[in-house]
Amino acid sequence: MAYVARKVGFVGTPETNPETKPFFDGAKAGKLMLRRCTSCKKAHHYPRALCPFCFGDCEWEEASGKATIYTFSVMERANPPYAIGYVKLAEGPSVLTNFVDCDFKSLSIGQAVKVTFVPTETEGVTMPFFTPA
């Protein structure tokens, strides 16, 4: 079952939540941005101002974009079908995403994937998706 591009929805704008705007600025420039705690040093996702592990202050960093598939599900009922999943980033956190530019039947848990960027229906908003490495 081959990937066919679908319309990618978005709600609000990157300005809706000033806390996370740098994530979308990064994605627009082809960078997967991640938050890391300056206190406990742990990275997290989705991005927050305060560390969800210790409430410490966090900084932005660019992630490697390397990940492995934790799980996935192909929504065959949709037209076109699409594949949702979690990938575990090399930096640690698991991230909800879709898989693109691949045969959905070839997806497997543990498979190596890399980030790619797909525009949404909202002008100027691009999101990180993943594809086989």
Partner: protein, 390 residues
């Protein structure tokens, strides 16, 4: 101080409708309230505590429904944790009754997603962009069925669970639904029927999913003194637990549900163990939901759920753990896309000896009703209620 036995369920009523295009949501709530109060032998004027969740129409929690039903309350609670809200409400009502904040607590649920044409499990619904996760999830099309599909896929990978094992859960529900004249799906199905039904979101087939229905239900709880004065079999609340589970900052683990956390306090309060349970109502939005909750509530070891549910083990009169004898969400109804209250209502029927004669569990004195609200694949609440026939 343990709250064990501080409240009794004295009224339980399920709306018979499965499609109600000519009724309003508020009307359905009120009809359920009337039914449950009549079942208890109480009246509207006896109610002094009202409990509802996000399905109650109106923007300010309980206010619109309290106004519509013209209730005079001294305690209200509208904790909304999706389909698990009603198990949570039983616990909160028991606490309120024990604290003297109310004497007669009314809980209602109602909705009509079927009449409104909702594609409940297959179309992502955009929410408030200010919800902190929304912009990081909605673009990826989270549509309920695929959020549970991800859990099933991981469970299969970790433990070797099969689609055929999941199918046994639907098979058991269908064996029960054939006796329920109100059930939407009354045909008995086989494992082959389930695994050969169209794929919705892998690895979940159409028959792994619950129905979309209109309807509702209501419960009435009260303190022991009032319960003893009523001419109804007494169903005592002996254990409650609630807990949310989520993505844990990115440490995602989809192999277990919040039942792992809501179960232990409920078992401890009740002073019983899973093997003591005669009948189990287990939230069944999808087959995988049932399998994972059974593991997490301790009915079998983690990873053994597939073997536990297979070969008819959940069928009343056949297996060791009769479950969802009304047909559950998988076959009977899932009003307002929330199956929590119907789980409790069928448990009450079993404890009273009022289940369908073909499915009535003999000497049914201990039952569990567990709810899950939200989505196992992102964030959800688990809520556990353990009940005893006195």
């Amino acid at each position: 101080m343990s709250l064990r036995g501080a409240a009794y369920i004295v009224g339980a009523w399920e709306h018979p409708t499965r499609k109600a295009p000519d009724k309003s949501i508020a009307q359905l709530h009120a009809e359920c309230a009337k039914g449950a109060l009549a079942d208890a032998g109480l009246t509207k004027d006896d109610v002094d505590g009202y409990f509802c969740a996000g399905d109650a129409p109106g923007g300010l929690g309980p206010l619109s429904m309290v106004d519509y039903m013209n209730l005079k309350c001294r305690h209200v609670d509208s904790t909304d944790v999706g389909g698990s809200s009603y198990q949570v409400a039983v616990g909160h009502a028991m606490e309120a009754i024990a604290a003297g904040r109310c004497n007669v607590a009314l809980i209602t649920l109602a909705g009509r997603p079927r009449s409104e044409g909702q594609a409940t499990g297959t179309a992502p619904r955009p929410g408030n962009p200010a919800a902190p996760e929304m912009q990081f999830e909605f673009p990826y099309g989270p549509a309920t069925a695929n959020l549970y599909g991800m859990c099933a896929q991981r469970h299969m990978y970790e433990y070797g669970t099969t689609s055929e094992q999941l199918a046994w859960i639907k098979v058991a529900a269908s064996h029960h639904a054939q006796h329920n004249p109100h059930a939407m799906l009354r045909d008995v199905v086989t494992v082959e029927d389930v695994v050969n039904s169209p794929m919705v979101s892998s690895p979940l087939h159409r028959l792994d999913c619950c129905v979309i229905s209109d309807g509702g239900g209501a419960l009435v709880l009260t303190k022991p003194e009032i319960a003893r004065s009523l001419n109804r079999p007494r169903v005592k609340v002996i254990g409650v637990g609630e807990s949310p589970k989520h993505q844990m900052g990115g440490d995602v683990d989809l192999t277990y549900t919040a039942a792992r956390w809501s179960g232990p306090p409920a078992w401890e309060m009740a002073g019983i163990k899973p093997s003591d349970i005669k009948y189990a109502s287990i939230y069944d939005s999808f087959t995988i939901t049932v399998l994972m909750q059974l593991e997490d509530l301790g009915f079998c070891a983690k990873g053994e759920g597939g073997k536990f549910v297979a070969d008819g083990n959940l069928i009343a009169g056949v297996g060791k753990l009769p479950f969802n004898t009304d047909g559950g969400g998988l076959c009977s109804n899932h009003p307002a896309n929330r199956g929590g209250i119907t789980k409790i209502i069928e448990a009450v029927r079993q404890l009273r000896g009022e289940a369908h004669p073909a499915l009535q569990v003999a000497n049914c004195d201990l039952a569990i009703a567990h709810g899950t609200g939200g989505a196992l694949g992102t964030r959800h609440c688990g809520s556990t209620v353990i009940l005893e026939r006195e």
